[in-house]
Structures are given as structure tokens and as C-alpha cells.
Amino acid sequence: MPVSTKSVKKPAKKMADKAMPFYPTRWVTVLAMDPSLIVDGKLLRMKIEIPNEALDDGPRGYRAHIVDYDSTTDTFYRPLKIQKRWNREDQSPLDPFEKLTDRQLLASPAFHSCMVYAIVMKTLARFEYSMGRRVGWSFGGHQIQIAPHAFCDANAFYAKEAQGLFFGYFPALDGKNQIYTCLSHEVVAHETTHALLDGLRERYTDPSSPQQAGFHEGFADIVALLSTFSAESLVARLVDLGLPHTDRLEIKASGVTPKKLRNSALVGLAAQMGAEISGVRGQALRRSVQLEPRKDYLASPEYEEPHSCGEVLVAAVINAYLDIWISRMVALGKTKLNRQRAAEEGAEIAERVLTVCIRAIDYCPPTDLQFSDFARALLTVDMELNPVDDKYSMRTKLFHWFIEFGILENQPARRGREPGTWDPPESPEQFLYDRTHFDSMKSDKDELFRFLWENRQLLKLNEDAQTRVCSVRPCIRAGRDGFILRETVVEYVQQITLFARELDRRGIQTPEDMPGHTEVTLYGGNVLIFDEYGHVKYSVGNSIIDPARKSVQKKQADRLAYLWRAGAFTENRSAASPFSQIHLRRAMDWYRSVRSPEE
């Protein structure tokens, strides 16, 4: 794995022993969680490995620029002056903050900037590693601008129109301290994930369904949580919180039960985390472990609310993670368990689960995402890369938890397939490949469009709709055993705008009371996965209208009904960034949740 996270205990210097023409990575000190997490009287830190580059003052690098502007006070803070020893190319550059005391770290705006920069780059590197290719931002530019002290407000968000990430700060309730959202590892990873996911699937921010709305938040929470768990120092803390006698090197294996870890370790950790920062980010960690498994969450009206809906997905993934980790610990020692080993395993498993979650995005349909699509994509993409689910039984456990939370149904697999995975195309031999060149198709959207057009019947393209190829992305992924998988991921979207009065004729039920002259846009589209020989391996997505399948029209009708109920057609939109709004709503949850679903 080219990019990994290690605990503080692993000295970075060792990595830098040997001079080389270009040293690919650097190690940077960041906080493991946020300034409220203190262990043995000290801030819990970690070192993360990020791509090395010759940084400009700021820091400003090839993908991220720190602009330390505070709009509340209209103040521009001097950018961090990059010293030569921090910009070494022949060896791992020095970490400027390694030796600073806790107090110095917190008081240094330069550290704030560097921590944000490092976590943004780390999250980007995780995405690129998982995807096996470069991953771009959604706004077309290559460098995202980041304001670590953007304004005095208990909020932090990604704003596409400003091509940036904004982290607020606010006075703590004790009146003495400032709370900096940029110093929360989770918050930074969460916002960066919004920006990256938006680049991968631009239509996921469209109003569509509670699950699509909940996905952005839920997925960002999953990435944020697993990113922090992939630090051994933090996972060791989890083990300690959950178990007695942590001063001993070995602990009783019988003390490690899923329930104990869930209830004391994770909830304990959540309680330690800054209560004030939880006003910004909600309490994904605590929620995800306290939500009892139930299959009917997603069908119940109160889970129409995007945050609650997203929490169901987080709960399924985090429970699977705990389950995998605990079974691994049980396998390691029947009676006694090495504490350090338990932490290492926990961190490694977090890394693996995170990788497969990110990878799954490539196998998700480009529009109208449901959690079941994500779950199936995840199981399929991992099966492609690691055909045998032996080491951790990761897929079996994920599948189990997806069922427990009602995301997937427990249906037997087709012959030769694993349960919960996507089915390959029904008649692969009928695809016409001889009119296009696969080499061009890997980079040329027009060539790819010709392929779609030639195969429009087989792909069930709606010929009345406008079809657009959004992306063509060749990628190379590495399996656990060094196995290399080459694929090309293609995303296309179809859309058609109709008057409400035209819906019935097409078999789509018009939402109650919707005036006939209302213009509605229907979306559909697929993701196509080509294997290395240029053959279609999977075609996954949503038809726009399909007279042969009533379920397609039903899904469109449900979407319109939900949007109509939610007032999406009144164009009641605030000028604020959608993520700023959604975070504000989250803080307002207590109040908002009395809203009756009917209205």
C-alpha cells in the first residue's frame, strides 16, 4: 500500500535514511481526533503519510491551497513560510511540528493550516489509492482553496461555487477558549469527502430521495470515522476504553465482546470528544453504535430526514467493522490478547474497510442512488479484486450487517455468484464492439458515446431523452495479494423534461395536486465497467422510463412524490451552500424532527 497511516511511535526518520532522486511521501503530525481528546495528560497525536511535493508558502501544493482569510474580521493571516528543510525531495522532508508542545501546536495558525492541508491530501490520497487513478474535484479546477479560519460560526462545509472548503471557529461556552473546526480530524476528512464525492458523482447532490440526500452525509461520516480509526494510537485508545487492566501488555480475550466494545469503547470515545464540536458535526460515532439493528428504519417516515437516513448506513458499516475486528482478535488469542497487536489489527481493518467503501463508488449508479446500490457495489467491487473472501470474511460480515439494517435483503445468490453482488449483463455476447476502438474509448467521450448509441437497444437507452457521457476513467487497482485489476469506468446520464400532464401517459403516477403545467425532469443513467479487453463487465443503473418494467416508472413516481412533498418544485433554495445548510439542519435536528412527514 503506497500510502498508509502509522502511529506516533513509528519514527519517520527511519524512512528517510537513504537519499533518492525523489522521495514520494512525507510524514506530518496531526491531531488523532480533536483537541479535546487527551490521553495521559497530552493531546493524542498521530503522524500521517501524504504525497511529497515542493510546497509553496501557505502551504500551497498541486491539489490544495490554504488561504487563511477570516471574513468575520476581514483579516488575512500570513501564510506559513516554507523552509528549505521542509521541502526536501531527496528524502522525507522534516515534519515542522513534531517537536512542538501541545500548547504551541494549538496556538500556531501555521499548525492549523498544515493539519488541514495534510488531512485533505491524505483523504485525497486514500481516494486515489482506492480508485487506482487520479481523482478530481468537482468544480473543474485542480486546486481546492481552503480557509482554516474562514469565519466565526459553528459550521464547516464544502462550497462548490467557491471552489473551497470553509472551516469556522467559535468561542467555547466557557468563554476562555476558541473551538477550531479545522483542528477536528473528523470534520476535515468529512468535508474533503464531500468535495471528492461530488467530483466522482456530480448528480448525488440533486434532490432525489431521502437515501440519496442521506448518502453524502453518511458516506462522509464513514470516511471520517474509518480514517481516524486507521491510526493505531487511536485504536489502542479504543481497546483501552473498552477493557480493564490496560496497564498489562496482555489482556483477557474474554473481555473483548462486540457489546463491550460497542458500548464502552466507541461510546466512551464519543463522550470524550469535544461536546462543542459535536454541535457542528452531529454525533455520528455515538449514533452509529447506539442504533440498534432493525430492518424497518429506511421504510419508516422519520428516516425520510436525510441525517437520520444517513446514520443507518454508517451504523451498518461501523458495526461490520467492529465485527470483523473482534473476530480477528478472537482468532488471535483464545484466552489472552496482545494489546498492541489488537490495535494494529483494528487500524489495518479500518483501512481495508475504508478502501472498499471508497472503491464502491465506481460501481454505483450515477443517479438516484439507494443504499442498496452502494452495498451491492461494495460487495461486487471487492469480489472483483479479492475473489476469495478468506482473510477477514469481510464481505460476509458486511453483507450480514447490510441485512440487519434493512439495506439489503437476504436473497440467495445466482449460481456462481456471491450474494448481494451485481449481476453481469444478461447477453454479453450481443454487445457490438466492432464499430468502435477501445483504445479511444478509454479517453474519448465521443467514441464512447458511439458505443452507447450502437448498443442503445441492449443498454435500453431511452431515445427521447438526452444522453451524456459524464466521465471515462481507466483505472488500475491492486488487490491484497498483489493482483492487479485493470478496468475502465464509464458514467453516462440520461435526462428528459416533461410537463406533469404527460406523466400518466408514460405510466408514471403524477404527484397528488401537482398542476399539469409543472415541468419535471426525470433522470436515468448507468455506470459501465469495461474489463481490460474492452468488454462490458457490468452495466449498473436506472432506466429513465421502461414500458416493460413497471418498477422503473414506480421509482420515478416515488421520487417525484417525495420531491413534491418536500417542496423541491417551489425552488425554495437558499443561496447558502447546500452543505452549509445541511450541517445547520443537523445542528437543528432536535427542533426540526417534530416536522410531521406529511407536511
Binding site: 471574513s71 495558525p109 460560526d153 461536546a275 462543542e276 454541535g279 445542528a587 432536535w590
Partner: protein, 448 residues
Amino acid sequence: MPRSKTKVKPTAASNTPTSITIRMYNVGFGDCFLLTFQYSKEKRHMLIDFGSTSAPKDQPKDYMKRVAADIEEQCGSKLQIVVATHRHRDHISGFATNGDATGNTIARLKPDYVIQPWTEDPAAKPDALTATVSSSTRSNPSAKKLKAQYLGSLKAMHGVAAEVGEWAKKNQGAVEAATLKQLGFLGEDNLENLSAVSNLMAMGRAGTPYYVNAGMTLNGLLPGVKITVLGPPNLQQSDKIRNERAKDPDEFWQFRNFWASQQQAVARTASRSPSVLFPRNVSRARGPNVRWFIRQSRRIQASQMLDLVRQLDDVMNNTSVILLMEIGSKKLLFPGDAQIENWAYALANPSWTGLLKDVNLYKVGHHGSLNATPKTLWSAFKHKGEQGTSDRLETLCSTKPGVHGSVDAGTEVPRSLLLNELQKESDFTSTQDYTAADGLFREFTIRV
């Protein structure tokens, strides 16, 4: 103090009114209704709200004074009941004793009863400090503490509003004018209105104050008039309709905490010379590569603030008292500015929705905004119908267009979609249609 008693001793004259006259004053953007109950030998009066944030067109500047004088003239020397549905300036500014001092006029009328939402009860002290309790108490706070936290939030919201108003004044020209206008309006409307609040409290002390919540009945305040309070729900009542996850006291705490931090944050923003975070690191130079981003940051900050005040405006509206009055076979519904979150409790109660069916007069909620007239409520009214329907529903709307929300965003108040429906299905009157000939008010009479 009979704060929560539900029974009131009937007054001596135990007859029934023969008619009720409703005087809807044109106070621009605001509410002011004087109800006169006509008995065989006397008249009794109830004033529901008296406030304005934007003057009516074609009216003299001292319109509030004139309205007060008219109320005094109508009442003679005695006003029986004052209702202040909620704290917003457009509902209570007239009770203030500073400025125009119209509040003194009302106080002179010595109201017997002052009805306000439970959130105004001076005996329940908002305690901002309870927000910083330890995590163990946090997960198990008493009902009393929750209440204090909630009230503390409301107080913090006033603080946020005041600061936002200041900020809007300071930033003329720096942000889009439309955003500033909205910020100014919402900020001002959510100010604490101390003078009006203390006058209401003093009037209550002189007479009898009622701090009401859903489910209370105030029968007997006026002979022959049954008054049922349908909102606002108190915290326990809200709990019942809230889904399981939101019952978590931690969430509640977070809500309190959120507003407390927002208040401090916005105070910093609006302060004349906000202290910078790192004085030693300030840079004067701003390279050309960051100018665009700086502009974006400022724009985003303004729209965020607008979002914040919109939220607090909603919370405040939802403390509105909803009164249903029954006089013989006639029913009058005055919901203040209650929005769906407040209505949800009443609408979840089948016996109340039954009561609401044959309402004869409806004061349109929140100056005609769309989410203050819930669909369930509107569809429950059975007296609505085409023109010519016998005993047709009467709807009264006190509003002024172009003050609140915007047409482009579909948030305008009054909302045209709702107005069309009201016009089509009821005898609808809006203060925005008053002409110079109408003067200060129009009168509507309901015969019992």
C-alpha cells in the same frame, strides 16, 4: 398565580354573546385584532397582538398611536383580555412603553387577563449555564433543566438576532442588497423587545397572567365563550410527537449549545472591532490569487447568516399561542404565527381536528406564509367552498407584501399560492387590499 390551572371561575354575567365584531387593523407587516363580544347588556373586549415592523402604505407615520387610540375608544376604559401570541416584534411592538409608548395606552385599559405562551413565564428562568453540565447529567437531565435549556436557547436567539441586525447595518454595500434587506428584517423582528415584554409582564401582574400550552382551556374568562389552547405544545408534549431518536436529551442539549455558541459567534462578527485570532500573524498584503476567494468567502458568510436567522425566526414563530374560541355554534381560530412544528401536536389529536372542522373564521397564520397553514388543517375546514356557499368560511390576513421572503425564491409572504387558494375557497380579506377609504381597519361581524 393560576399559571397552569385549567378551570376559571365563571364571571357574574353568565350569558352568551349575541355577536362578535373583529376589527382587523392595518398595521402593515404585523398583527392587531380587537375582538368585541356583544352581550345583551354590555360589551367585552379581547386584543390579540399589537405589533408592526413595517408601516402600512398610505397611512400617517403615527399609525400605531392612532390604532392605540382607537382601541382605547372602542374599549371605553376596560379591556378584558390581552393575548400576545409570541415575542416577535410584529406582534408585540405596540405593547412597548418607550418610543410611541402605545403600551401605556393599553396598560391604562387594565386588562383582567394576559395570555402568553408558556415560554414567557417569568417563573421559569432560562439558565444558560446548564448547558455546561457534565456528560453524566447531560444524559439524564430533569424536565426542569430541559425547560431551562430550551428557554435559554430562545434567549440566545434574541442575542443572535440583535447581532445580525447590527452586522447588516455595518455591511451595507459589502454584500448583496437583497440578502442584507432580509437580514435586517429578520434580525429586527427577532429582537428581544424588552419594553413590550416587561409591560406585558406588568399588565399580567396587575391582572391575572396565563402562560399557556396546548390542552389548556380558558373557559369563563368571557361568559359563554369556550377557549381551547391548541398550541404551543410544552416540551413533554413535543416529545410525544417527536420520533424516538430526537427524544435523546443529548440532542436537546446540542440544540441549546448550538444557539449559545452561535450567539457568541455572531456577537464577535458584529462587534465594531472584532479581535483577530492571531494578532501577530496578520498580513496586509493580499495577493491577486486570493481576491476572488475572499469575495466568495464574504458572500457565503452573509448567506449563512441569513439561513441562521431564518431558522431562529421559525423557532420563535412556533412558540405562538393557538386559540380556538367557541361561542354558541360559531368557532374562531387565531393561531398567531404558528408553523407546522407547533401545529403538529394539535393535528395529531383526532378530537381536536374534529373540533377544527367547523371553524367559521380563520386568522391566516404568519401573514400568509405557506408553511403556517398546514395542509391537514386547511383540508379539515368544511365551511370552505366556492363563492355563494352558505355559511362560507371567513379568512383574515394581516400582511404587507415585499417585506418577508422573496418571490424569486418562492418564500414570499404572503405566499401567492396560498392566497389564490384562500380567495377561491373562502371570504378572504387581507389588509394589503385596504384602501384609503378604509382608514385604519375593517370590521367583521359574526352573529351567534
